[in-house]
Symmetry: C2
Subunit: 124 residues, 2 copies
């Protein structure tokens, strides 16, 4: 998966995972990978700065937890974060629908049995 694809959509993914239940950064990375069937395998250098950004924006709050001996910063959604998740969800749906509309539409309607996977001409 092209890395630029994620741009602008990372926040909603993180908010959605944390909304489920408070989590620490490393667990968020693993959950994203697991839930997406392995296709969202994000580097730490992507996720940690994003978490700081979301906390600075007031969408997450964090606290250190050291139950396991290892230090962990555990994040949870703020009220504003929960509201933001709703907004971002709708924005994702709208964007996704718009892209599908463009990718799916044809000016010249083609019977599906004749259509090639990419909408291109069938050669020979």
């Amino acid at each position: 998966m092209r890395s630029e694809a994620l741009k602008g959509h990372l926040d909603v993914l993180i908010l959605a995972v944390v909304a489920d239940r408070p989590r620490h950064g490393y667990a968020i990375i693993e959950d994203l990978k697991q839930r997406s069937g392995g296709s969202l395998d994000l580097p730490e250098g992507t996720v940690y700065p994003a978490l700081h950004r979301l906390e600075a924006a007031g969408f997450l709050s964090s606290a250190w937890g050291t139950e396991t001996g290892r230090r962990r910063r555990v994040y949870e959604l703020t009220r504003r974060g929960r509201r933001e998740l709703g907004v971002r969800r709708s924005e994702w749906r709208a964007f996704s629908r718009a892209v599908e509309a463009v990718l799916g539409s044809r000016m010249t309607q083609v019977p599906s049995v004749l259509a090639t996977p990419d909408g291109g001409p069938r050669r020979a």
Copy 2:
């Protein structure tokens, strides 16, 4: 629609529109707007540089056409461009599916009648 949402997905949109039939830049902008029901209303400063990028990458070829008295640069897909469109289409589907999987999944299954739009707790 948050402008960062588009990042990384503009190319496939343009390729899809041009694949339909050769078009000039201004028409591409209008088609994107029309096909998306108005939600993809991209500024020229976004589309023209993208067209140059796609041509430099070998996915589009262009020629000046002056039929209407106004100069127009008309773009069409190259063979590589058509192949690339197929690749980008699949990448979009994969990405879209991954995001939906994350946004849609719940660790604790909630009966749909009780679920709030954003997956958050129902207050009061």
